[in-house]
């Protein structure tokens, strides 16, 4: 490997990125856009769900239950309607996600202590939100129910026995406020790296083929390895700069805690960049068309990073076969490490397993990428 050839290619590639408005836009704006889009766009916390209520009784008891819904930060009681039809119409029109129906004999049955059912109608179009809505509604109702029981027991003079024998005192670690944003943003760094790494590198060889400069290039003594390293070095640098930009936005703007070491973050990011850059380069060398190569590169990098890495959709909740599949998705290891470095402050010792997996992946991809480039016109 000759240093002068490597340097010539790398310098040329830097100049071309700098002169090409399209590349420059991807390099500079993409991290900011991705961060804003995914940081704000994907919010898995369900708060202030619109609720419509049909209070058939209209008693003090029924009102105080509704007040509890109102008081909860998860619900926003938009309106009380007086018939069932209006309630279903509101659900149909997407004016509310949850409808509460309180029966006519609510107070009566409460006093009988025979148990009373409150009907909840949930818009199940978005099952995640529906699950949360049901959960929260149950929490509100059971809170109210406990209060009633306490009152009843209090009147009987047995208040102290009402305390449950066992209870769970839960304390959440790492993401104390259970903010889904803290869970998502570290993963956005992975999508930005996948996008930039794969997109830019998938154009680089195909562009030479399309413009006819490849024939000239392979008539020189440059080796495929020099060509690959020289071409990818600028994108590697750009990738690391963008990673720094992402961390800055995550911490400075979204207030995501960063508890680990920057060196760990940049080391894992370097491994991930080797994988995505290698994939983009390999496709570019094989497909020889900028459009074809970039489409395929996004398919094999960005798509699995978005869907199967656990970036936004927890791997534990996937069906077993898909869960098994995620072990092949290199982004999974990177996202795991990103989250651990950001939120848990994990160091290299804790991450040795995913780090080795990613390193192995990088080695394999780089090996095949180098072989994909043939110095021949055939």
């Amino acid at each position: 490997m000759k240093w002068h050839r490597l340097r010539a290619i790398a310098r040329k590639e830097f100049i071309q990125i700098w002169r090409d408005p399209r590349s420059l836009t991807i390099v500079l704006l993409m991290p900011i856009m991705q961060m804003a889009l995914l940081g704000y766009g994907i919010n898995l916390d369900t708060k202030h769900l619109q609720v419509y209520a049909l209070d058939r009784e209209g008693s003090q008891n029924s009102q105080s239950l509704l007040k509890r819904f109102q008081a909860s930060e998860y619900f926003h009681l938009v309106r009380t309607v007086d018939n069932y039809r209006d309630l279903t119409a509101a659900l149909d029109a997407d004016q509310c996600k949850l409808g509460i129906v309180i029966p006519e004999d609510f107070s009566e049955r409460l006093n009988d202590s025979g148990g009373v059912a409150v009907q909840a109608l949930v818009d199940g179009t978005d099952n995640n939100t529906a699950d949360l809505a049901i959960g929260y509604a149950q929490a509100v109702v059971s809170g109210y129910s406990r209060e009633i029981q306490l009152n009843w027991l209090g009147r009987q003079g047995r208040a102290q026995q009402a305390t449950p024998a066992l209870s769970v005192e839960s304390r959440t670690w790492f993401n104390e406020e259970l903010e889904s944003r803290n869970f998502i943003i570290p993963g956005v760094v992975a999508t930005v790296m996948a996008l930039i790494g794969a997109l830019l590198s998938s154009l680089t060889v195909a562009r030479e083929w399309e413009r006819g400069t490849m024939e000239r290039l392979i008539s020189t003594p440059i080796t495929p390895l020099e060509l690959m390293l020289g071409k990818l070095f600028p994108y590697f640098t750009v990738g690391l700069l963008d990673a720094a930009l992402c961390v800055l936005i995550a911490v400075g703007w979204f207030n995501v805690p960063f508890r680990g070491a920057l060196t760990t973050l940049f080391f894992t990011t370097s491994l991930f960049l080797c994988v995505v850059l290698g994939m983009g380069f390999m496709l570019s060398a094989l497909v020889k068309s900028q459009i074809g190569a970039s489409q395929m590169a996004l398919m094999v990098t960005l798509l699995p990073t978005m869907l199967l890495s656990g970036f936004a959709f927890p791997i534990d909740q996937m069906p077993a076969p898909i869960r098994a599949l995620t072990h092949l998705v290199y982004a999974r290891y990177y996202v795991t490490m990103l989250k651990a470095v950001f939120l848990k402050g994990s160091g290299v010792d804790d991450l040795i397993e995913p780090m080795l997996a990613l390193a192995l992946y990088a080695a394999v991809v780089v090996f095949f990428a180098r072989r994909a480039l043939r110095k021949t016109l055939e």
Binding site: A8, I9, D20, T213, E215, R216, S219, L377
Partner: protein
């Protein structure tokens, strides 16, 4: 001539074949080139000139046969070959989004030209290409003639002993072409072996030696003069007659006529005996309602030789540019 004094052979091609599936692009071609020689590959588009050059540069692997470039087998050691050659591909292949000097520095780096030497070579190339004052212009903004001279400069930055130029002057205006050929001759004078492919007949005359290629086969080789002399079995006459089409048909069946072809607004006719034909042909034509305004013996051009050697081309005639 330089080549005859120093007879060291720089390129040897022996029964070289290149097939793409069923199609044979280069068919059993053999020749030799000596140091400092300008060797022209002459032939119509699609004759196999580019394929031949690409094999000699190690860009395509020969199907069979052997080619030694600077003593190295192109099939076995293509990488070693590349250090000894300069190549200008048919398609312009510098970087349009790089400046003139950036392109030169890039290729200098690829060929490993040392920093001190590169400064001199860049200065020389910029003067040679007439680009003084435009060093920082983007190459994409230059006119074709300048681009081609810059591409030539990039191909010879590392002072290769052998240079391959694939149709270097296509799309270049006549004056720029003239200047380009002066450069080629200057380089040959320095001892560089230059291969040039072209389909321009006038350019072929600038070569020391020609290899005529048609349908992948070597049709003839020799100096331009040799080719012109050997190509014609008889003598060549120029005829101006009216109407041309009927004249060609009539001459085809006339006795003593070997071939007749339209050249611009006249005919080139190959005959066995020039004097007998000049005496007899005008009468033969006028008896058949074709007027003959002028008939004279001319010396054959390369194009005549080419048409003669490559046999009837589709359409039967070659038109002069």
């Amino acid at each position: 001539m330089n080549g005859s004094v120093d007879s060291s052979v720089s390129v040897t091609v022996d029964r070289l074949v290149k097939r793409f599936g069923q199609f044979t692009a280069v068919d059993q071609i053999s020749f030799e080139a000596r140091r400092g020689e300008i060797l022209g590959f002459l032939g119509p588009n699609g004759a196999g000139k580019s394929t031949l050059i690409r094999m000699l540069c190690g860009l395509l692997r020969p199907t069979s046969g052997k080619a030694l470039v600077a003593g190295l087998d192109v099939a076995r050691e293509p990488e070693a070959v590349r250090q000894h050659i300069g190549y200008m591909s048919q398609k312009f292949s510098l970087y349009n989004d790089l400046q003139v000097v950036e392109n030169l520095r890039f290729f200098g780096g690829l060929y490993g030209v040392s920093a001190s030497e590169l400064t001199d070579r860049i200065r020389w190339t910029i003067e040679m290409a007439g680009l003084t004052g435009r060093e920082s212009d983007l190459v994409g903004t230059l006119a074709t003639g300048w681009k081609q001279r810059l591409a030539l400069g990039c191909a010879v930055l590392h002072r290769p002993p052998i240079l391959f130029l694939d149709e270097p002057t296509s799309g270049v205006d006549p004056i720029a072409r003239r200047q380009f050929w002066e450069l080629i001759h200057w380089m040959a004078g320095e001892g560089v072996t230059v291969f040039v492919s072209t389909h321009y007949m006038d350019e072929a005359e600038y070569c020391n030696r020609l290899v005529l290629i048609s349908h992948g086969r070597l049709v003839a080789q020799g100096t331009p003069t040799e080719l012109k002399r050997s190509a014609l079995k008889g003598a060549l006459l120029l005829l101006e007659c009216e109407p041309l089409g009927e004249a060609v048909e009539l001459l085809g069946s006339a006795s003593g006529v070997l071939d007749a072809a339209v050249f611009g607004n006249a005919l080139h006719v190959v005959v066995t005996d020039a004097e007998a034909a000049i005496a007899g042909l005008p009468r033969y034509l006028s008896e058949r309602a074709v007027s003959c305004n002028r008939i004279e013996a001319i010396s054959p051009s390369l194009e005549d030789a080419f048409v003669q050697l490559t046999g009837p081309s589709p359409g039967g005639t070659a038109s002069r540019r």
